[in-house]
Every structure is written in structure tokens, then in C-alpha cells.
Symmetry: C3
Subunit: 456 residues, 3 copies
């Protein structure tokens, strides 16, 4: 009976599987539906990646205010309008030239040496993923901000004597052609330096050294400001507004939290780590430069505190994502010491760089790029990079440096023969503000005009 | 045997469905649980929307620093404290009046002409979605920042001669009543202009033109600064601090990345696209104004670089989410050219606007709003807007302009009869800082006092 | 036949369960896989939490620029380089000392009085959740920014007479030892004040009062600036640059949107509410101080508008997440009134605080902490806090105050006997910029040197 009951009655029992099957089909459909129409975790991560890098791009663009205030403050009052104008228009120019040409040369993957396509952002979706999860617009904006940074670096080193038109044209060419080509070598998907193993996370070399080399060549070809090196003496020419210079440094510090952590090009829980190594290096650089300058000159020099912080920031830029805390500290410390001696060095060879841009961006950019091959990612204390990595780093530094120097020398030379690079001695003494822009920066303040025929 | 075995033994086999069923029920519960208690993708998107618009609101609030530095720098030293005071207190006033009254008038959907409810944010949940996914607090903060912007625009145009109390009272009324009513027409759920099809994504008209109209009426009623138009001559009155003016421009540029992309009122992968059109227009505006001014006056004028960038930003504000890259470039270029001629125009009709606010915000705000009806969203090159759209845009511009002009005229007139709008001629010559605030901005600096009896 | 059919044929039908089972197993695996490898909503929330608090940390770090500009602008030109140097180096020092020692003392949970471990961030994962969803790096960066704020507050109160070396050493000790210990009491997982029920959401007491107490002790031990209190008179010593002081206030306002909303230590839809209470209090504080100063002195004083806004911000910091809108308004209003009278009070007892830091941070910090016990979270209008809460708040204020006063007194006294706290009278009259740093802030501007032998 029981058997019979089971044998007969329960042989129907499989029918309970029908509702189960319906349940499963329903679940299956829901899941499929979720994949297609509703919000999925993947989609939210996609949005978050794009929003975060947008915010990082905004922070990097804010660096234009930092560079503008820093460089203006470090120069003389009579040239303030000129420097402000350069630093303001340069991001507009970089935006347009990088949109038109630079981005395509840099990120199109036509060949390992330069891109050839996507000019004017043509042929790229505005909403689909383009670089990892990033859409083309946000990736472009972030990279355009970087291109602008390279151009801005030049501004400070050639300040107080260059003609406005020359700086404008050089900036256009740098951001349209030179920066994108060397950038392509490292940061495009198929660049030859990247393929070689050269590593530069956020651009110690790709951005800062490139700006620094262009600045060095410009400053060398221009020659020093009148009165800077006289009778075998190096005459300090003090900046006119240390308040805005310090503000500029703090804005740059803030902007670097977009520059380095944003270079992750995605939102992840490891992004803040990059901000911490960046901050430790900045702090170490500032303290090291302060102490070094204090020991050497007997007083803590505000311009050296500023440049030390920036040196630490430039130094950590290449390795911020891979070094340990101690590595970050050491990179910053050495950058802070380096910048003090580097400023003296360039003065000793009569390369006149009013704001120290070459020491900060070129010298510390090279140091930071080398450091990637030197520091262990765990302890950060001792050498543990492979010799291959170190060689790759050296090759990258040299190759990018050579290209940028040659390109810059050619462009500066052409500009020199076309327009002349330098304002007249008379205009330089009176200040570029009146000569180049027909206005002064601080109307209503009484100026010390004793410098009109002299040094400062 | 086999049959029997299957027939008997396996008729029990359906029992394996029991654990399967348990599994399904468990899964089902888990899924249901996830919907109710745990974190879902929808919920994370909800949080992300609110966090992003909070960040955008912070960027817009930062624009107060931008306007403050820009306007102060463009005016004379002797009035700096007055302009700083106005630009600092105005966001406090806007916050309070928009919280008390403005927000309710603007976003409560009582009728198509104005809201009537939710004053003091009463009756609104602080955590539930209110506008799309946004909670009432974040939506309020973003909108309060916009209201403050409209009031701040007025500050520059009436600077250097208006009494402090008049500006304060006007700002309160503008942000409590006038701006919210016209804003309701466009941005509430049931405004009559919005229903008509008028499109103003981030406020070329709703914010910038409104501020511009109020500024124009104020400047017209106040009359020009002493010495500005004398003996048929237009005397340029140079600003006293181009460093902070330039800083102000760069801060505004940054703030606009909150203003426009934040107006999406949600986090999505298309938000950065808005930042890119915004940036292209700013760049194009800056370059166009620089070149235009250079051609017209022979020198690149820093104030025109600044105003060109702002003109491009105001111009793109209405259409930033719908125009193509080329459309953004063209809108910016034309805005940059327009602003140079507009500044001359208002001088020619003796409307004295110390900072160019009317040209930047009113003229380019109208241009940007019209442009929405003109540009194709794909190529951005040729006319493709419907004539209906263009008519809607014109109706919106005219209706909002008329309301704001009438409102402003009434309020300025009442204030004039109550307190007098203008400081005494003696106070104007000595500077409003001493007269209105009993202090000076730059104690310890020697001033050029030759202007005390004259123009600058 | 039918029966037989069913009995026999369908007894095999349970076999359909096999594909069902496969489906279920597949689904199960997918789900498990999702948990392990793919993106889940939990994971995106985790990333969002970390990214948001990183952004908040960046905003707080930006406050260094705010404090730097505010304090420098409020002091005299001849001491600008000195104040800029202090405010720039202090965040570098705070970063290093908080990384080395402070963080471990504050957040390691060794005992309820102080932590003992995790020095140099050792032993903490850089990617795993550490505090709630936050990783150790982002939590450290946010907290280091807070530590830096406490130290920066001191800078203003001791300005224009303290030796640079003393300020540096005090800052290191404050951020390495004192601030972390009292902070541990409240914000570590097992601090004795937190266990007692003391509530200070974002640090009215933990950060602002601590900085304020240290500042008060420092200002008292240092004594007033030469000429400040003479012949029974209180001589106002006007600041030299109200433009950058106002900029500083606006930057601090912006930074506070990181300070308070970031203190949620997570991204949630209730974060923006905190920004709104913060903003309402700031606005109310600014308006209240303006009106109070206007009534008392007959003119709206810009420094009081600035300090009123900051007073409102400090006041709301303790309760920003729990008070209602009206509570925020009242807290801000009272803070704005309080700060005006407090400034007069400290002058009357000859505590010379050049920037009003003690009134803003100590007095309003205490007020804000008390207010947490007073305001209903719903209406915010009437007393509804429990008396127990109020007692906890008082205990916290007193305990943290006592510790900080004793610690500061000891350190200032040791520094005094080691180096002397104060520059020479001659150096003070000439300005610390030349004496301490060998440079001046505004080279090229003509200065009013009539103050060299006198007051201002």
C-alpha cells in the first residue's frame, strides 16, 4: 500500500518542479533584464570612474591658478600683467590645440611613435568607454589639463623678457605636437617606451621634464634678465608678491591630488593611497628644502619652502602608485635638497630662471623617474628595482629629453628669426606690462621706481 | 528489473527537488533581502548622484571667491573693502533668503507662474529623493549657489558708488523673489516657459541674464562713476589688482565645472561631456577676445582675455549639454568677440559697468540662449534648430528680461527714495572703504593719492 | 493506459530537474563568482566611500590656503613672509608628525586614554577597510588634514612676534602628541569621552577648541605686540591685505564642506544635509556679526563679516549632522554675535590675538559643542537635549581644555627657556620678514614706514 501509494501518487510529485522552473525562469529573466535595462553595479562603477576622473581633471585645471599666482608672485611687479596674461591664455590655447591635434597624435594608436587620427575628437563616442572605463570626453579633459601643465611650466622660466607672441606660438606647438608625441611613446596603448617597460605613472618625465626641457632651452636661448648676472655677481631679483606666490604653491599642492590620484584613470579604493604618498613627498620636500636653505643661508627662505614642496610633488609623480610610504618620504626629501642646489647650479651657469621652474620640474622630474627603478614597493627603503627597470627609466628620460630639446631649439630659433624672442632692453627695464599690454597690474599703488635703470 | 528499479526506486528521486527548492527559496529571500536591507546598485547610484551634485554645489559656491577677486581687482584700491564686503556677505544673504522664501517660490509647483510652499525647506524630507534622485538638501544647496551667483553679478556693475545698504537689500529681494519667480518659469516641474519648450540647461538666461538685467538697471539708475565720461571722453579707470582679478577668472572657470556639469542634476557618464563643451567654449572665448582686442587696440589686453573666457562660459551655459564640440567652439568664439564690442557699446551709451558684468552676463547670456535654437547637436556647424525652438528661446529671453527689468527698476527706485542709492561725491572721491566701512584694504602700502580729486 | 503511461513514463519526468539543477548550480556559481571577482554594489559603495572622503580630505587640506591668506591679510605687511612661511610649512610638519606618531596615538585602540601602535602607518593594509569602509590611507589623510588645522589656528594668534623656530617645534609637538591624545578620547573606538557620550561630530572641540586653547596660552605667554595696548588705549592694528583675507575666508568656507560633511566618513545621501546645516550656520554667523558690528561701531566691518562667517562655521561643526535647519541658524547667529563681543573681551584683558583666532575657534568651538546638548534635531527651536548629554559635553570641553592648556603651557615654557619665544623689539618693529627670513613680501611697492617706530 505504502509502496503503491508512493509508486503511484508520488510519481506525480515531480510536478512541483513546474513552479520551481517558473521561479528559475523568472529569476533568469530578471537577471537578464537587470543586465540590459536597470542599474547594475558595473554601470555605477562606470559612472563613478568617469565622475572621479572628471573631478581629478578639474583639480588639475585648477593648477593653472596655482602656476599663475606662483610665477607672477615670484616675478617683479612691472611684469605681472604679462605673466598673468601668459598663464591665463595658455590653458585656453592648450585646450584648443590639444583638442585639434595633440590628443590624436598622443592617443591614437596608429604606430608606436605617434598617433594619426581622432583629431578634433572625431570618431570617438561621447558616452561609451574609451580608455578603460573612461569616456573620450573625460579622458580628453584630463589629458588636456596635463598638456596645459607642460606649457605653463615654460612660462615661468622665460618670464620677464620674452615677447608675448613667441610664448603663445611656442605653447601652441608644444601642446599640439611635441608633448603629444613624447607622451604617445609612454601613455598610448602601443608607445615604444611603454612597450620597453618605461614607467611614469603620472608624468614626472612625460609632463614635468618635458616642460622643464622646453623651459631650459628657452631660458638658454633668451639669455638672462638684464642685471641678473653682473660683474661676476649673481644678483637676486626678489618676487613682488609672496602672498600670491604662497597661495599658488598651496593651490598646486591641492591640484596635485587630481594630478597623481587621477592618473589611476579609475575610481578604486587604492586611489587614496596615491594621495598619501603624494602628500608625504610634498611634506618631506618642503621640510628638506627649508632645512637645507636654513643651513646654507642662515634663514628659512620662503621661496625655498615653496620650491621644496613643489620639488617633492614633482619627484613623487612618476612613482606615487608603486612606492611605499618610506619611499615617498625619501623621494621627497632628496627632491627638496636637490632643488636648493639645482637653483644655485643654474645660476652658476647663468641660466636665468626667475621662478626656479627648471630645477623643480626638470631636475626633480628626472630624479622621480629614476627613483621608480630604485625603490621597493613594500619597504621603500632599499634598492630593489631590477637593473632592467632602471635602464628603461634612463632610456625614457634621455629619449624624451632629446626629442624635446631638439624640438624646442628648432621652434625657439624659428620664432627668434621671425619675431625676435626678446623685448627691447628699454621695454624690459620699464616692464613688459606697459610695453606688451599697455596697462599695469597695481594701479593706485606707489611703486619703487628706483629699479628702472637697474637690476630689480 | 531495470524498469522496476526505475519505476520504484526513481519515483522517489523527485525528492532531490526539495533541496533545490530550498536553494531557490534561499536565493529568492536573499534577493528580496538585498532589495530591502542591503546595498543595491540603485542605492549606490542614488548616493553617487547626491554626492556628485554636492561636489558641484561646492564648486559653484567657490565662484563667490572668483567673483569677489575678479570684481575687486577690476576696481580701484580705495573701494576694495567695499566690494569685498559686498561679495562676501551676498552669499550669506542669498543662502538665508533663498532658504526662507526663494526656494519655495521657485520649486514648489503650486502653479506655472510661481511656487507657494516649502518655505524654510519645510515639509521636505532630508534623505528621500526630491528632484530626480536628489534629496531636498543637496538640490537646495545647488540652487542656492545659483541664486547667489545672480546676485553677485549685480555687485560688479554697481561698484564704486552704491551704498552698501542698498546693495544688501536689493540682493535679498532679488534672491528671495525675482530670481526664483523667473526661475520657476523654466526650471520647476510646471513652469510656463518650460512647458512652452524654452530650453536653458544651466542658466545662460535664468541666472546670468537675470543678474545682467538687474545690473543694467542698477547701473543706469545709479549713473556713471565721477570722471568716467567727461568732456565727451571715455576715461578708462584701471583696476587696482590684476593678480587677484586673474585669479578670480581662473576660480570662476573652475567653478563653472560645477555650474554646467552639475546641472545634469545626476551622476552619469555623460556629465564629463558637458565639462568639455564648457571648456572648449571658455578657451574659444578667451582666444577670440584676445585676438579681437589685440586687433582693435594693438595690444593683448588682460581684462579682455579675462572677460573673453567668462563670455565663452556664460555663452555655453544654456546649451552645454546639447551642442557638439564645434557648436561649443563657435558659441565661445562669438561670445568672445561680442564681449569686446559690447563693452565699447555700453561705454558709448554711458552705462558705466566697472567690471564688464553686463556685457559678460547679459549680452553673452542672451547669445548663448539663442544659440540653443541654432546649433545641431551632432555637427554643431549649421543651423538645424527648429524655428519653434528659436521662437521659444526668444520668448523666454524677453519674458524673463521684462520681468527682471521691471522688478529691478521698482526696487532700485524704492531704495533710492528710501536711502539714496549713491554715496556722496566726496565719499566717492575718497573711496567707499573709509566712508562705508571705516577701514582701508591695503594698510601699510603707500597709495597714489593723485586721483582723490580726479578720475581714477 | 493513461495511468500506466503516467505511472511509467512520467515517473521519469523528474529528470527535468537535472537541467533545473544545473541552472541553479550555474546561478549559484555566478553569484559566488560575483562575490569574489566581479563588481558588486557593496564594492562600488566601498569605492565611493573612499573616493568621497578623499575629496573631502582635499577640501580640508585646501583650508591651509584659506588660513594662510586670512592670517596673512589680517597682519601687517612687514610680517607677511613670516606668516606665509608658518602657514605653508605647518601642513608639511603636521603631515609628517601625524604620520609618524600622531595617528597611532589617536586611533590605535590600546587603551581609552591614548593609542600605542600603528606608528608610521605600520601594520595597516593600504586597501582593506580600516575605519568603517575607509582604508587606512584615506582615513589617515583626512585626519592629518584635521591635525594640521589645529596647528594652523595657533599661527594667527601668535603672529607678528613669535620666533619661527618656536612655532615650528610647537606645531610638531601639538600634532604629534597633544591633539592626538585628546582626539583619541573622542574619536577612537574606545576613548573615554566617547564612551561617556560626549558628542563632537566634526570637531568644534576636538579640533577648533584645541587649536584655540593652544593659541590662547601662546598669546598669553608671548604678550601683546608692541604698541597694541598703550596708555590704557587699545590700538587697532589694521591688516595689510583685505583682499587675500577675504579670499581666505571664502576658501575656508569651501574647505568646511569637506570638514563637516566629510566627517560622516562615508558617502551617503545624508551627507549633503550636513553641508546645508553648515552653510546655514555660516550665513547666519556672517549676517549676525555684520549687524552686531554695524550697531556697535556704526559701520559694517569687513573683518567682522569674515570672523562672523568663520564663527558660524566653527559653531556648527560639533552638531552639523544632528541639528535641524533652525538649530543651525540659531547656532550660527549666536556664534556671530558672540565673536564680536569675544574679540572685545580678549582685548580688554590684553590678550593680543591679531586675527581673532581665539574668539573664532576657542569661544565658538565651546559654544558649538554645548549647543549639541541644547537643540532638538527636528525643530531645532527649543531645548530638548537631555541633561546627561549636556553634562557630557561640559565634561568633554573641560577635560580637553585642561589637557591642552597644561600641555601648551609646558611646551611654550620649555621653548621660551630654550630659544626665547619672542623676537627682539627692534626686529618686531622692523618686521619679522627681514629679521627671520631675510626678504620682504612686496618688493617694488613703496611702503609706509611711519610705523617703524610706532604701533602699526
Amino acid at each position: 500500500m505504502a509502496k503503491r501509494f508512493f509508486g503511484r501518487s508520488f510519481s506525480w510529485a515531480w510536478l512541483v518542479c513546474i513552479p520551481l522552473a517558473l521561479v528559475i525562469v523568472a529569476t533568469w529573466n530578471t537577471a537578464a533584464h537587470a543586465q540590459e535595462d536597470a542599474i547594475t553595479a558595473d554601470n555605477v562603477q562606470f559612472v563613478l570612474d568617469n565622475i572621479w576622473v572628471l573631478i581629478a581633471a578639474i583639480l588639475v585645471i585648477f593648477m593653472n591658478a596655482g602656476f599663475g599666482m606662483l610665477e607672477t608672485g615670484f616675478c617683479r611687479q612691472k611684469n605681472a600683467v604679462n605673466i598673468l596674461s601668459k598663464n591665463l591664455i595658455v590653458f585656453a590655447l592648450a585646450t584648443l590645440s590639444f583638442w585639434a591635434i595633440g590628443f590624436g597624435l598622443m592617443f591614437n594608436e596608429a604606430n608606436p611613435v605617434f598617433g594619426m587620427g581622432n583629431f578634433f575628437l572625431s570618431g570617438l563616442s561621447t558616452t561609451e568607454p574609451y580608455a578603460g572605463n573612461l569616456t573620450a570626453p573625460v579622458f580628453f579633459l584630463f589629458q588636456a589639463a596635463f598638456a596645459g601643465t607642460a606649457a605653463t611650466i615654460v612660462s615661468g622660466a622665460v618670464a620677464e623678457r620674452i615677447k608675448f607672441i613667441d610664448f603663445i606660438l611656442f605653447s601652441i606647438l608644444l601642446t599640439a605636437i611635441s608633448y603629444p608625441i613624447t607622451g604617445h611613446w609612454v601613455w598610448s596603448g602601443n608607445g615604444w617606451l611603454g612597450n620597453l617597460g618605461f614607467f611614469d605613472f603620472a608624468g614626472s618625465t612625460v609632463v614635468h621634464s618635458v616642460g622643464g626641457w622646453a623651459a631650459l632651452v628657452g631660458a638658454a636661448i633668451l639669455g638672462p634678465r638684464l642685471g641678473k648676472y653682473q660683474d661676476g655677481q649673481i644678483n637676486a631679483i626678489p618676487g613682488h608678491n609672496m602672498s600670491i606666490a604662497t597661495l599658488g604653491c598651496l593651490v598646486l599642492w591641492i591640484g596635485w591630488f587630481g594630478f597623481n590620484p587621477g592618473s589611476e584613470l579609475a575610481a578604486s579604493a587604492s586611489v587614496p593611497y596615491i594621495a598619501v604618498t603624494t602628500n608625504l613627498a610634498a611634506a618631506a620636500g618642503g621640510v628638506a628644502a627649508t632645512v637645507t636653505a636654513w643651513i646654507m643661508s642662515g634663514k628659512p627662505d620662503l621661496s625655498m619652502i615653496i620650491n621644496g614642496i613643489l620639488a617633492g610633488l614633482v619627484g613623487i609623480t612618476a612613482g606615487c602608485a608603486v612606492v611605499g610610504y618610506w619611499g615617498a618620504i625619501i623621494i621627497g626629501l632628496l627632491a627638496g635638497i636637490l632643488v636648493v642646489f639645482s637653483v644655485s647650479f643654474f645660476d652658476s651657469i647663468k641660466i636665468d630662471d626667475p621662478v626656479g621652474a627648471i630645477s623643480v620640474h626638470l631636475v626633480c622630474g628626472m630624479w622621480g623617474t629614476l627613483a621608480v627603478g630604485l625603490f621597493d614597493t613594500t619597504t621603500g627603503l632599499f634598492y630593489s628595482g631590477s637593473i632592467e627597470q632602471l635602464i628603461s627609466q634612463v632610456i625614457g628620460i634621455v629619449a624624451i629629453g632629446l626629442f624635446t630639446v631638439v624640438f624646442s631649439a628648432i621652434v625657439w630659433t624659428i620664432l627668434k628669426s621671425a619675431f625676435g624672442l626678446r623685448v627691447s632692453a628699454e621695454e624690459e627695464l620699464k616692464g613688459l606690462d606697459i610695453g606688451e599690454h599697455g596697462m599695469e597690474a597695481y594701479s593706485g599703488f606707489l611703486k619703487d621706481t628706483s629699479d628702472m635703470g637697474g637690476v630689480a
